[in-house]
C-alpha cells in the first residue's frame, strides 16, 4: 500500500482507484459525517442536510400560506360575509403573498437544488458549505421575524408589494410595515449568499469532463435564477431600506410632497419581475430533467432549452414596467414594455415545445411523477396565455388589478412551481430516503390537486372578466360574482385536500414505503449512481464524465468514451473535492472543504439581534449584534497554518 505521493509543499498527484467491496471503508464516512447530537445539528454544513431543512421549512410556510388563503376564501364565499374584519383580511392577504412568494417559492427550489446539485455535478459538496448553512439559518430567522409581527396582530398589511404611500408612516403608523421592510432585507441576505454559492459551484465544482453542455437543465435553471438574484435582490432590499428610512427618520424618498411614490414601484418591480422567473426556471429545469426519465428518452432540444432558460431570464429584466401600466407613464415607455412583455412569451414557450416533443417521440410511463410533470405543461400554457393577454397595454388597462391577474399568477406559480415540486417529490423521494412513495395514493393525490386547482382558479378568469377587483375583503351581490366565488372556494378546499394527501403519502412512506435502490426509475443522471440515501461524501471516488446522460451511455451511444463512476480520483485526506475549469471541466486543483462549525449559526444570531434592535429601536441590542457578527466573521475567516503530516498536507485555508 502506498500513500498518495505528495510534494512537501502543496501539490499532489491524486491516484485513481476503483470502488470495491472493501473500498470505500469507514475512512471517508468518518471524514464527512456530521457528529450526532445538538452540536452536530447546529454546526452541520452538509448540503444534503441543509437541502432537506430548506424543503421542510418551505413546506411549513406553504401550509401556513395555504391556511391563510382558505380563511380568506371562507370570507369571500358569499357577498357581504362578516367572518373577518377588513384589517384581518388585509393582513391575511399580505402574509399569504409573503409566505408563498418569499418564504416558500424560492426556498423550496433552493432546497432541492442544494441537495441535488453536488450529486448532479459529481461533487462532494457545494462551493461554500458554511455559507450554505448560513443562508438557511438566515432564511429561518427572516421567516420567524416576519411572522412574529403577524402573530401579535401587527403583521404587514399593505400587500406583498407594499405600495407607498399607503405603506408610509402617515397612513400606516404601526410597526407592521417595518416588520415587512426589515424582514425582507433579512431574507434578501439569505437569497443573495445562496445565489453566490450556486454560481461558484457551477463554475468550479463540476466533475472532470462535465463541460457546460453536459449539465442537467436543473443546473441551468438554478444557475440562471441565481445570477438574476445577485443582480435583482438589491433593488428590493434598497427599496425596503429607503422605506424604513422614510418611516423612522423622515427622509424624503417616497413621499408625495418631496419624494416620488412611483420610485418604490420601479425599484420593487425591477426586483419583482426577475424574481418571478427565478421562482419558476429551476422548477422548469426539474421538469426538463424528470420528464425525459419517464419518457425513456433524452430531452428534445437540450441546447434550445438551455439557451431559452437564460434568454427568458435576460429578457425578464426588461419588462418590469408591465406591472405599472396604469400609473400614467409616457406612451413610448408603454409601447416598449408592452412589446417586450409580449415577446418574452417566445423563449418561455421553447420548453413547452421541447417537453411535448419529448412525450411524442418517447415512450411515456404513467407514474405519479409523470402525471405532475406532464400536467404542468397545460397549466403553464394557461398561465402563459393569460400573461400574454395582460402584456398588451390596452387590454391590461381592463384586466389589471382584477381577479384575472389573480388567476394568471396562480396558474403560473402553482402550475410552474407547485406542480413540478410535487412531481419532484415523487421523483427524488426515493433518492433522499431510500423508500418509494405510494403510487396508489399518488394517483389520488394528483387528481385531487389537479381537479381542485382548476376548479379553484379557473373561474377567477371569469371573475376578472366580470370586473371583480383584487384585494377586496367583501363584494356586493348582483355583480354576477356570487356563483364563481362559491365554486372557487370549493375548489380551493379540494386543492388543499390534495396537498394534505401529498403530506400523508410522505409521512406514511417514510416508515412504510417500498425500499428503493440507487436507481428505481432507470434515470440517466449522476445522482442515481450513488446509494439511496447517498452517503455523506456523495461519491466514493471522483467520477469522470463523458456525456450528458452518464447512466444511459450504453443505450444512447452519445459519445465514444464511457463515463467512469466506479473508478476515479481518490480524494480522502480530509474533506476534499475536485476543482475544475469553468467551461470544459478540466481538473485544476484539489479543493479543501471546511469542517462543521457553529459560526454560521452564531453569525445569524448576531444579525437577527441587529434587525430586532432596529425594529424596536433597542440600540444596545443592535450594538451587541454587531459585536457578535464581528466575532463570528473572525472565527469563520481565520486562516489556518498549513502543516505537513505523514498523511499528507493538513487542510488549511489561506
Amino acid at each position: 500500500m502506498t500513500a498518495p505521493s505528495t510534494s512537501p509543499d502543496d501539490f499532489r498527484h491524486p491516484t485513481t482507484v476503483r470502488v470495491t467491496a472493501r473500498f470505500p471503508g469507514p475512512r471517508l464516512l468518518r471524514i464527512w459525517e456530521t457528529e450526532p447530537g445538538l452540536k452536530g445539528w447546529f454546526s452541520s454544513v452538509d448540503h444534503k442536510e441543509i437541502g432537506l431543512r430548506y424543503i421542510v421549512t418551505a413546506f411549513a410556510f406553504l401550509l401556513l400560506g395555504g391556511v391563510e388563503a382558505l380563511v380568506m376564501r371562507l370570507q369571500l364565499t358569499r357577498p357581504g360575509e362578516h367572518l373577518l374584519t377588513p384589517e384581518q383580511y388585509d393582513q391575511l392577504f399580505t402574509m399569504h403573498g409573503v409566505s408563498m412568494i418569499f418564504l416558500y417559492a424560492s426556498p423550496i427550489l433552493s432546497g432541492f437544488s442544494n441537495y441535488l446539485w453536488p450529486l448532479l455535478l459529481g461533487a462532494r459538496d457545494m462551493a461554500f458549505p458554511r455559507l450554505n448553512a448560513f443562508s438557511y439559518w438566515v432564511y429561518v430567522a427572516a421567516g420567524l421575524f416576519m411572522y412574529a409581527g403577524f402573530v401579535v396582530g401587527q403583521g404587514p398589511n399593505a400587500g406583498w408589494f407594499n405600495y407607498v404611500p399607503y405603506a408610509a408612516k402617515p397612513f400606516n403608523p404601526g410597526v407592521n410595515i417595518d416588520v415587512f421592510a426589515l424582514g425582507l432585507i433579512l431574507l434578501g441576505i439569505s437569497t443573495t449568499v445562496g445565489a453566490a454559492n450556486f454560481v461558484v459551484t457551477f463554475l468550479r465544482l463540476r466533475a472532470p469532463g462535465m463541460s457546460i453542455n453536459r449539465v442537467p437543465i436543473l443546473i441551468w435553471g438554478t444557475l440562471t435564477a441565481s445570477v438574476a438574484n445577485l443582480l435583482a435582490v438589491p433593488a428590493v432590499s434598497l427599496a425596503c431600506f429607503l422605506l424604513w428610512m422614510d418611516r423612522q427618520w423622515g427622509t424624503h424618498f417616497f413621499d408625495a410632497g418631496q419624494g416620488q411614490p412611483l420610485l418604490w414601484q420601479h425599484l420593487f418591480w425591477m426586483f419583482g419581475h426577475p424574481w418571478v422567473y427565478a421562482i419558476v426556471l429551476p422548477a422548469m429545469g426539474m421538469v426538463s430533467d424528470g420528464l425525459p426519465t419517464f419518457c425513456r428518452r433524452p430531452l428534445v432540444g437540450y441546447t434550445p432549452v438551455a439557451l431559452a432558460t437564460v434568454g427568458t431570464m435576460a429578457l425578464g429584466f426588461g419588462v418590469w414596467v408591465h406591472h405599472m401600466f396604469a400609473t400614467g407613464l409616457p406612451s413610448l415607455a408603454l409601447g416598449f414594455f408592452s412589446g417586450a412583455s409580449i415577446i418574452i412569451t417566445l423563449p418561455s414557450a421553447v420548453a413547452v415545445f421541447a417537453w411535448t416533443a419529448t412525450i411524442w417521440t418517447g415512450r411515456p410511463v404513467f407514474t405519479t411523477a409523470f402525471l405532475f410533470f406532464a400536467s404542468m405543461i397545460v397549466l403553464f400554457v394557461i398561465g402563459g396565455v393569460s400573461g400574454f393577454m395582460t402584456g398588451s397595454v390596452p387590454v391590461d388597462w381592463q384586466l389589471t388589478d382584477t381577479y384575472f391577474v389573480v388567476a394568471h399568477l396562480h396558474y403560473v406559480l402553482i402550475g410552474i412551481n407547485v406542480f413540478p415540486i410535487a412531481g419532484a417529490i415523487y421523483y427524488w423521494f426515493p433518492k433522499f430516503t431510500g423508500r418509494r412513495l405510494s403510487e396508489r395514493l399518488g394517483v389520488w393525490n394528483f387528481w385531487t390537486m389537479f381537479v381542485g386547482f382548476n376548479l379553484g382558479f379557473f373561474p377567477m378568469h371569469l371573475l376578472g372578466l366580470m370586473g371583480m377587483p383584487r384585494r377586496i375583503y367583501t363584494y356586493a351581490p348582483d355583480m354576477g360574482w356570487d356563483l364563481p366565488n362559491l365554486i372557487v372556494s370549493i375548489g380551493s378546499f379540494l386543492f388543499a385536500l390534495g396537498i394534505l394527501l401529498l403530506l400523508i403519502n410522505v409521512v406514511v412512506s417514510l416508515k412504510r414505503g417500498r425500499p428503493a435502490g440507487p436507481n428505481p426509475w432507470g434515470a440517466p443522471t449522476l445522482e442515481w449512481a450513488v446509494p439511496s440515501p447517498p452517503p455523506p461524501y456523495n461519491f466514493a471516488v471522483i467520477p469522470q464524465i463523458e456525456s450528458r446522460h452518464p447512466l444511459w451511455e450504453a443505450e444512447l451511444g452519445e459519445s465514444p468514451r464511457r463515463s467512469s463512476i466506479e473508478e476515479g480520483l481518490l480524494l480522502d485526506v480530509g474533506r476534499e473535492t475536485i476543482g475544475t475549469s469553468p467551461l470544459d471541466g478540466r481538473p485544476t486543483l484539489i479543493l479543501q472543504m471546511p469542517e462543521d462549525t457553529l459560526a454560521p449559526f452564531v453569525l445569524t444570531l448576531g444579525i437577527a439581534a441587529v434587525f430586532v434592535g432596529l425594529l424596536l429601536h433597542v440600540w444596545w441590542l443592535v450594538g451587541a449584534g454587531v459585536a457578535v457578527i464581528a466575532a463570528a466573521l473572525m472565527a469563520w475567516f481565520w486562516p489556518r497554518r498549513r502543516q505537513i503530516t505523514p498523511e499528507g498536507v493538513e487542510p488549511a485555508d489561506e
Partner: protein
C-alpha cells in the same frame, strides 16, 4: 351592500364587466381583448390536446420494470422550430394590433368640451367639474354625469394614497397618485348608468370605494349641470343648524356655512343614486343608518360615529332630503 334600488331593473348582468363596452375609449381595447382571448383559448386547446394525446397514444404500461431508455423518435427539434415560428407570428400580429389600439385610444377624435378633475380619497371619489367657460366649476362626489357622444377629459390625482379610477364599460384604469396628475379621457355613446370601483389597494375600505357614471343626452346633462352649479336653497329647518354645527367641519353644502373639504360635497346629495361611495342606496333608511353609525357599515372610514340622538338624526336627514 345591495345594488341601488333606483338603477334600471334591466341592468347589466355584469355591472363591472368589460367584454361589452360603450364608448370609443374602451371599444378598440375590447375588440383586442376578445382577439387575444380567442388566440389564447385556441393555444390552450391545441397544447392540451397534444399533451394528452401524446401521453395516451405513446404510453407504455407502468407495471413491471422501467423499459430501456433509447435515443427516441426523430423529428423532435422540428416541434421546437414549428412551435417557435407559429408563436413568433402570433406574437408579432398581437404586438402590431396592440400598438395600433394604443395609438387610437390615446386621445379622443374631437377636443373634449368638458374636463373633470377626479381626486381619490380614502375611500370616496371627489369630482370637480371644469367646463370651458369660467364660473362654471363645481364640486361633487361619487356620482359623475357626462353627456353622451362627447369625449370628457379626466385629470386624475389623489389626496392621500394611490387609488385607481376605473369605469369598465367606458375606459381602462388610471391610477390616482398623490403629487401627480394623470390624464385620461372617456366617452359614453349610449345613455345609461355605469358602475366603477377603485382598483388599487388603498387601505381598509378599498373594497367599498365604488362610483357611478351617469351618461345622459346633452340636454339632460346640461340641466343636471345647471342644477349642480346652484347653491343649496336656504331652509329654516332645525336640521340645517345641526348639520352646519356637527357636520360642517368635514362636509360642504354651498349656500350654508358648512364648508369642510375632508369629506364629500353634499350640496346636491339627493341628486345621487347612492351614498357612501356607491355602496348604499340613497334612501331615508340607508342615510339614517349611515349617519348614525358609519363604522358599522364601513369600518375604518374617516367619518366617525356622529352621536346624534334620535330626534337630531331625524331632523338632519329631513334637511338632507331637501338637498336636491
Amino acid at each position: 351592500m345591495a345594488a341601488p334600488a333606483s338603477l334600471p331593473a334591466s341592468g347589466p348582468a355584469w355591472p363591472m364587466g368589460y367584454l361589452a363596452t360603450f364608448g370609443p375609449r374602451a371599444d378598440p381595447a375590447t375588440a383586442l381583448t376578445w382577439g387575444l382571448m380567442d388566440i389564447s383559448i385556441a393555444v390552450v386547446v391545441i397544447v392540451t390536446v397534444l399533451v394528452v394525446a401524446g401521453a395516451l397514444l405513446r404510453r407504455v404500461s407502468a407495471r413491471g420494470p422501467m423499459p430501456a431508455a433509447s435515443p427516441g423518435g426523430k423529428g423532435g427539434l422540428a416541434w421546437i422550430a414549428i412551435g417557435c415560428a407559429l408563436t413568433t407570428a402570433t406574437l408579432l400580429i398581437s404586438l402590431v394590433w396592440t400598438v395600433q389600439v394604443l395609438a387610437r385610444i390615446d386621445s379622443p377624435a374631437t377636443k373634449p368640451g368638458l374636463t373633470i378633475e377626479i381626486t381619490g380619497h380614502q375611500w370616496w371619489w371627489e369630482a370637480r367639474y371644469q367646463p370651458d367657460q369660467p364660473g362654471g366649476a363645481f364640486t361633487t362626489a361619487n356620482e359623475l354625469h357626462i353627456p353622451t357622444g362627447q369625449p370628457v377629459r379626466l385629470k386624475v390625482t389623489s389626496a392621500d394614497v394611490i387609488h385607481s379610477f376605473w369605469v369598465p364599460a367606458l375606459t381602462g384604469k388610471t391610477d390616482t397618485i398623490p403629487g401627480r396628475v394623470n390624464l385620461g379621457w372617456m366617452q359614453a355613446d349610449r345613455a345609461g348608468v355605469y358602475r366603477g370601483q377603485c382598483t388599487e389597494y388603498c387601505g381598509e375600505e378599498h373594497a367599498k370605494m365604488a362610483l357611478y357614471v351617469v351618461a345622459e343626452p346633452p340636454a339632460r346633462f346640461d340641466a343636471w349641470r345647471q342644477a349642480e352649479l346652484a347653491p343649496a336653497a336656504a331652509t329654516a329647518l332645525p336640521g340645517q343648524t345641526i348639520f352646519e354645527a356637527r357636520c360642517g367641519a368635514c362636509h360642504s353644502v354651498r349656500g350654508t356655512s358648512a364648508g369642510g373639504v375632508v369629506g364629500p360635497d353634499l350640496t346636491h346629495l339627493m341628486s345621487r343614486r347612492t351614498i357612501a361611495s356607491g355602496i348604499l342606496p340613497n334612501d331615508v333608511a340607508s342615510l339614517s343608518g349611515w349617519i348614525a353609525n358609519p363604522q358599522a357599515l364601513k369600518p375604518g372610514a374617516a367619518m366617525p360615529a356622529t352621536n346624534l340622538n334620535g330626534a337630531e338624526l331625524t331632523q338632519v336627514v329631513a334637511y338632507l332630503e331637501t338637498l336636491k
